[in-house]
Structure formats: structure tokens, C-alpha cells
Amino acid sequence: MLTINSLSKSFDKGKTYALENVSFNLKAGQVCAIVGESGSGKTTLVRLIAGLERPDHGSIAMNDKIIASLDKFIQPEKRKIGLVFQEYALFPHLTILENVLYGISKVRNKKKKAQEMLDLVGLSDMGKRYPHQLSGGQQQRVALARALAPEPSLLILDEPFSNLDTMLRTQLRNEIFEIIKKTEVTVLFVTHDTQDALSVADEILILQKGKVIQKDVAANLYVKPNTLYVASLFGSTVHINKNLQNAFRCPLKQDCCHAIRNEKIIVSPSSAEADCEYITAAQVIKQIQLGDSTQLVLKLESGEQLTVMTQDKNIADTIYVGFNSKDILEFEQE
């Protein structure tokens, strides 16, 4: 339902790009998460789709109709997109009910509709309050109710949980996506947190420095990441650089970049017990207890340092670490 084609945007007349040649599709009813660090172009992408910025190149189409391109631009108010801002952007001088009513002033039975929306987000009796009288989580839900009220065909959530603390965040995320599922709206969910993305998204799109790195279902991102960056986003990863290759005596393909998941690194008290192709002895420099697992800082025979995780409780001073070639992730050189 949303088609984005080689979309580019620069804020300094082409010197640097906030968004460069981005293309992807979104199917109706899907929840797609866009993951990226701050400055990766997530917000620019959102603003372009919502019509708050104009593309320098490329096009955006919704339901096969172009809404922004080089010669066409549909005003944001005509796009029927719901948008929940990072900072909620509730109208501070209007009550909660008025906020929700705002986008549906032309709808019949608007009062009833607005109240329904408030019921949906569980703020039935808060209608007469003002935004500043609400907690952050409540404000977030009002923003959602307001965005959903006009029944948009696409709902964009721009970092909706970044202002909340961790406990509240998980709870609210689950609540909100439960509400969203009831409405069957297509969702674009922008976040810098992979946990958020993994827990709710059908598909995840990784954005780095204004470019799409990978777009796939969650499982594939873990198993077949396109880059080291993606790999490290979805699980702690060790980059097997030249020095490590030497340390483990495992020559790897020259023009590629290699990594291994931390949990695939095998730690054992003796070389015999370890069942792996590449292995080396190491001295334990430091142990850090992290709940049920232990983090070890190791000094390898070659002198390299390496940090690994283990479930073992009893660690000798000298141990063996190693891995198997099937577990090595290989990427094109970045």
C-alpha cells in the first residue's frame, strides 16, 4: 500500500544526504519497524511520508497514487496518514477530548467517535483534562487516540516510547500494539531500539546513514544479517579481524568481513573438550558476573584481548576458546 522509490533528501543542497536513494514497499495491514541510530534519517523518512518535508528526488506512492514526487506534492492534510510524534505534540491549550476531536470535526457523531477512541486507549474519563495534567504514558495514549480517530490508512509512530522509562515502555508498547491490532491499520513504527522492533514488527527495515541496509523479517535479520552493523544490532557479535584470524589460525576470505555471534563462541577448560575447528588458549584477566551468565575478558595466546560470555560458574585461570566455521557470518567488505 506504500511504495517508496529512490527517495532522497538533503538539507544542504546536496552536500550531504539525510536520506539517500531509499526504496521499499509496505503491504497493507503490516507492521513495519524502521530501526536506526539517531541521525540515520528515520525522522526525515517519516516527515517525507507524512508530507512535512518535500523530497529532492524519488517518489512516494500510497495505494498506487503518487503523493510526492518531483512534480507532484499532496499536502499533508490531504494524505490521511496518522502520525504520533516522539514528543506527542498534543495541543496544550485543548482538552484531551478536544485534542481527539480535532481531526474529525467534519465527521458525523464526532463526539461519540472521540469518546470511543478514548475508551479504546483506556482514558474514558480523562476527556476534560488538559495534556499537562496527564502522565507521559497517558499523553502517549491520547496522541494515539488522536491519530487513530480520523481512521487513517497508514499510522506512523515516530519513536513513541523514547521518552519513557524501561519498565513503562515495555508495558505501554504491548498495550498500544494491542490497541493498534484492533484497528487493523498499517503501521510504520520508527525506533532506535531493536527490542521494540523485534517484539511487534512483521518486518524490520534497517536504516544507516540515510540508506536502507536491510529489510527483512526478524528471524532472517538474526540469521542472515547483511552487514556487521545489522549483525551487532540483533545480538552481541565479535568482529573477526585480521589479528583474531591470526590468533585462531583461521585464514578467511580476503575481501570480506567476518563476525561470529557471541553465543557461538565455545569456552571450555581444556582443548580436548572443546568441539571446534579453530581454538586457542587464553588467560582470564577479568570475570564479571551478570546474573546467570558470566562475562570473561580474555588474553589470547597471541596477546589479543577478547570478551566472551559463558554459563559456567567455575572458571580456571587458563581456558580454551574456539568456534566453528559454519557459525562464521560473512559480509561484503564495508
Binding site: S8, K13, Y17, N21, D71, F73, P76, E77, R79, F91
Partner: protein, 554 residues
């Protein structure tokens, strides 16, 4: 790769033109039209420059220009120092401490704005005069009169500073009240003392706000005519009047104005540059207000004196002198006409304040909606009028309005309609001139409040299906209301005080209090000028107090 191709293509001329075609909307066109309308007088003056200076230009450069430059620099320098001392110290104390009469002093400190600086000048001349109030007072006390000569360059700097410091006070206080609290607490937690906190932390942080106020003050200083003339100090502005009227060479006057404008632009550029260097002020208002310390004992008295001094010098003394004169001359000068003139002045000032604010709102929001970044920059040309002396704007307005009038008369004459001058010499021309002159006064407070409204708020409105204009009325306007009202009040006060422009452009049978006061004063009837001056002060005082309420409520 393909990407490189895309980049080149995205900023090739062809794509740029395509985008321009897409992005030009009615707002861009309206903005340009309004900027052009407001810049018209300035453009006409610019065109005058091409006809060359008058024949006495060389004479002026030889005999007078060094004096103009030197005196103007002197005034800029001394006034900056005095205004900073008066404005910043009082702003800091009223926002940081609680002391005797603090609430009253907070608004009393704005009141000097209500008195035109040339009237403060007359009042001080009267106080320090031989046979003046100070002389009388000292003789009553049986003391010898030590004559302090105030009518010189230093005296002028003092008079201008004491009547203009509230600009700095207002902007510095706004900063201290609204943005300083977190930092102040942080500094306290680090165990830093009051004095160091002020000089090492607050002062550098408040610098952009303070300098913004200071630039306003300096523009007023450079544009002052009445006080400089009376105190016998030759400045650019007195020079403009001299070459226009005494030497009968408007072109020379235009050349001097051009120089003055360069001078002022240098100041503005300086402000921009110094604000750019320090971008640490958050544009969002801090939700917590500053916590006041309660001052006690000797400290309380010291603070009281520091804050009271500018009020005494800038308001109480001059007003007392004016009241004294008014009492002596009331029988000969006062009549019901003054009530009429006051009403007229009030109506003109309100009308022009509203018109000017409308222009400012249109410029700010239309250029925002136009989405072309160049338009936003161009729109700032509209605020240049404040840098240009009133008399020069008056010339700039007369040229085009008369041309238009003549054209209209010709056109309508063909149909046998004789209209006379339609625009020139009417209220229209005057209101137009005020709008050109004071647009910056309205623009700045509105723009700064508008900046505090996070873009996501109007953006959400648009995403919810509401267009620009309705978004403005339903969302933006309620949120920037304080800024808009402050703008209305500030323009109102400025128009009440405005002189040279009004003198030249005012229609028949409309008098303003400022004109009336100047008529008396220019005819050496300074005492008789006191009654219209007091009327100005009292008419301007009410909105000044109202303004203070707005500023605090924020």
C-alpha cells in the same frame, strides 16, 4: 553506481527547476508581494543613491562627517555600557531576589519606555538648569548650587541610556525568569557562590538575549533626533536633517542615511555573529520558574537601591519635572482639545499597532508555509525599516504614494472624477509608514514566541487534515498569543512616541500628542510641552503595565 547518478541528478538544474515549480505556492507569492510592499520605501531611497550625492557632500565629508562618526561611536559605546549596567543589574535582582517592593519595581522598571527620550532630555535640562528644579531645591535647603552641565555629549548619552535601558531589562529578565532555573540549580549544587554564578554562568548565557535588547537600544540611540538636537550634539541623524533642510539637499541626506544604515547593519551583523557563536540557549521554555532568594538586612537595602536608581532616574525624576511644569502652565495650555488629540493618538497608535502586527504575522507564517527556504530569508528584508530614520522613511513613502496618487488622478480624471490626493496626506500613508518603520518591533516578539512552539504541534494539526490557515487560528495563534499581544503593545508605545515621520506624513486635522509636544518644545516652550508629554506617558503607561503582566505570565 546508481546512487551517484541519483545525487547528481537530484541537484541538477533541471531537477531544481522541476522542484521549484512543485514548491512555489500561493504563500511564496504573497510573501514576496508583502515584502516588496514593505520594502518599497527603502527601495526608492536606494534608487535615489544612484543619482549621486548633492554638491555639498564634499563639504560635509570635510567638516562634519568626522564629528558625526565620532559622536555616534561615542554614544554607541557609552550608552551600551550604561544600558547594560542599568538593564542587566535590575533584571538579575528582580528575578533572583525577593525584596521590598519587588513586584512594584518589576513593572516600574519598564515605565521609562513610555517617555520619549527627547522629552527626558528636556526634563533633565530643566532639572539641571540655572534656576531649574535642582537649583531651587538646593537654595531651599540653603546650599550652594553646583551647576552640573548636562547639555553635552556625556549628558546625551546618559539621557538616552536612562530612557532606553528597559529594552535590555525586558529581554534579560525574560531569560532569567524562564530559562535559567535548571542551570542555576546545577551551579548551586556545585557549590558555586552567587557572584561567580552570575558572572561566570548567567551573564554569558544571557548574552544573546541581552545583546538583542541592546541592538534595539542602539538603533534608537542612532535614530534619536530631538534630544541630540537640543543637547547640541551632532550625530548622523541631526546631520541628515541638516543636509536635507538647511543645505536643501535631499540627496545628501539620503547618502548620510545610507551611511547610517551601514552603521546599523554592522551592529545587526555583530548581533547575528555573536548569537551564532553561542547556540546554547534552548528555545523551549523551561517549565520551572526561577526560585527567588529572600534578601534581608543590608543586602536588601543595597539591592533595593540598585533597582530603584534606574526607576528614579528614568521615570520619577523626569515625570516629576514634567508635572511641575504642567502645574505652572496648565492654565494657559490645557483645554479640551487635548482630550481629542489624546483619543486620536490612541486610535492611530492602536490601528497601526494592529496593522503592523498583522503584517508581521503574515510575514512569519506565510514564509513558513511557503516551504522555500529562500523565501524565509527574503522575508527578513521586511524588518529593515526599523534601522532607517523616520524622516528618511517619510521621503521613501512620499515618492511612491504621490506617484500612485498622480496616476490615479489622471486615470479618474479621464472619467471626469476629481479626487485629489487619495493616499498621500491621509491616514493610509501614515499607517503604511508606521508599518514599515515598526515591523521589526512586532516581528521579533512574535517570532521568538513562535520559535518556542515546537514544530510538531502545527505539524500534527496538518497531518490530522487541517489546512494552514485553520491550523493558524486553532493552534498557532492561541499558543503565540502572548507574543502577539506584546507586539501590539510595543508597536503601540513606539507609535505614541514617534515624531519625525508623523510630522511629515500626518493628515490635516489629525494631531498626535508627540507632534503637539514637539511643536511646543521646538518653539522654546519646553514647559508648555509638559502637558502633551504627560498625556503620552499616561496613555503609554497603561499598556506598559499590561505588557509586564504578559511577560510575567509566560
Amino acid at each position: 553506481m546508481q546512487q551517484g547518478g541519483n545525487n547528481n541528478e537530484a541537484f541538477s538544474l533541471k531537477t531544481r527547476i522541476k522542484r521549484l515549480k512543485r514548491d512555489v505556492n500561493k504563500w511564496s507569492v504573497f510573501t514576496l508581494a508583502i515584502v516588496f510592499f514593505l520594502a518599497l520605501p527603502i527601495i526608492f531611497i536606494g534608487v535615489e543613491l544612484f543619482s549621486g550625492p548633492g554638491e555639498t557632500w564634499g563639504h560635509i565629508v570635510e567638516y562634519l562627517l568626522p564629528d558625526y562618526i565620532w559622536n555616534s561611536l561615542y554614544l554607541v559605546f557609552i550608552c551600551s555600557i550604561l544600558v547594560l549596567i542599568f538593564g542587566v543589574s535590575s533584571a538579575w535582582f528582580v528575578s533572583r531576589y525577593d525584596f521590598l517592593f519587588r513586584k512594584q519595581m518589576e513593572w516600574l522598571l519598564i515605565l521609562p519606555l513610555a517617555i520619549p527620550s527627547y522629552i527626558v532630555g528636556y526634563a533633565y535640562a530643566g532639572i539641571f538648569d540655572y534656576g531649574g528644579s535642582l537649583d531651587l531645591l538646593l537654595r531651599q535647603l540653603g546650599l550652594e548650587f553646583i551647576r552640573i552641565d548636562i547639555m553635552n555629549r556625556a549628558g546625551l548619552a546618559f539621557v538616552l541610556s536612562i530612557s532606553l535601558f528597559p529594552y535590555v531589562y525586558v529581554s534579560a529578565r525574560a531569560f532569567f525568569l524562564n530559562q535559567a532555573n535548571n542551570l542555576l540549580e546545577a551551579s548551586k549544587m556545585l557549590g558555586v557562590g552567587e557572584r561567580k554564578t552570575f558572572f561566570k554562568l548567567m551573564l554569558p548565557l544571557a548574552r544573546p538575549a541581552i545583546v538583542a535588547g541592546l541592538v534595539l537600544v542602539l538603533m534608537e540611540v542612532l535614530n534619536d533626533y530631538g534630544a541630540a538636537k537640543y543637547y547640541g550634539v551632532n550625530t548622523f541623524t541631526t546631520g541628515i536633517f541638516r543636509s536635507w533642510f538647511s543645505l536643501e539637499e535631499p540627496q545628501t541626506a539620503v547618502y548620510l542615511s545610507a551611511l547610517l544604515i551601514c552603521f546599523i547593519f554592522a551592529l545587526i551583523l555583530f548581533e547575528k555573529w555573536q548569537v551564532r557563536k553561542i547556540k546554547f540557549t534552548s528555545s523551549k521554555t523551561n517549565s520551572t520558574q526561577i526560585q527567588r532568594n529572600e534578601a534581608k538586612g543590608a543586602v536588601q537595602w543595597m539591592i533595593f537601591l540598585v533597582v530603584f536608581l534606574p526607576i528614579l532616574l528614568g521615570f520619577i525624576l523626569p515625570v516629576a519635572q514634567l508635572i511641575y511644569w504642567a502645574v505652572i502652565t496648565a492654565s494657559t495650555v490645557f483645554d479640551m482639545e487635548f482630550v481629542m488629540i489624546s483619543l486620536q493618538s490612541f486610535a492611530i497608535a492602536i490601528a497601526s499597532a494592529i496593522i503592523t502586527v498583522l503584517f508581521a504575522l503574515i510575514l512569519i507564517y506565510f514564509s513558513k508555509w511557503s516551504t522555500l527556504s529562500t523565501i524565509k530569508n527574503i522575508s527578513r528584508i521586511g524588518v529593515l525599516g526599523y534601522a532607517i530614520p523616520g524622516a528618511v522613511i517619510a521621503i521613501g513613502i512620499m515618492i511612491p504614494t504621490l506617484a500612485l496618487d498622480k496616476w490615479l488622478i489622471n486615470m479618474l480624471g479621464k472619467f471626469g472624477i476629481d479626487t485629489g490626493l487619495i493616499i498621500n496626506g491621509t491616514l493610509l500613508a501614515l499607517l503604511y509608514a508606521y508599518a514599515v518603520r515598526f515591523l521589526a518591533v512586532a516581528y521579533n516578539p512574535i517570532d521568538s514566541t513562535a520559535l518556542k512552539v515546537d514544530n510538531s504541534i502545527p505539524d500534527s494539526s496538518k497531518v490530522l487534515g487541517v489546512g494552514n490557515i485553520r491550523t493558524f487560528f486553532k493552534i498557532d495563534f492561541p499558543l503565540i498569543k502572548t507574543g502577539v499581544f506584546s507586539a501590539v503593545i510595543l508597536v503601540f508605545i513606539d507609535v505614541m512616541k514617534e515624531l519625525p515621520l508623523t510630522l511629515i506624513l500626518k493628515p490635516y486635522h489629525i494631531d498626535t500628542l508627540a507632534v503637539k509636544a514637539f511643536e511646543y518644545a521646538s518653539d522654546e516652550m519646553v514647559m508648555e510641552a509638559s502637558i502633551p508629554s504627560l498625556f503620552i506617558i499616561f496613555t503609554a503607561m497603561i499598556p506598559v503595565i499590561f505588557l509586564n503582566k504578559l511577560l510575567i505570565k509566560k
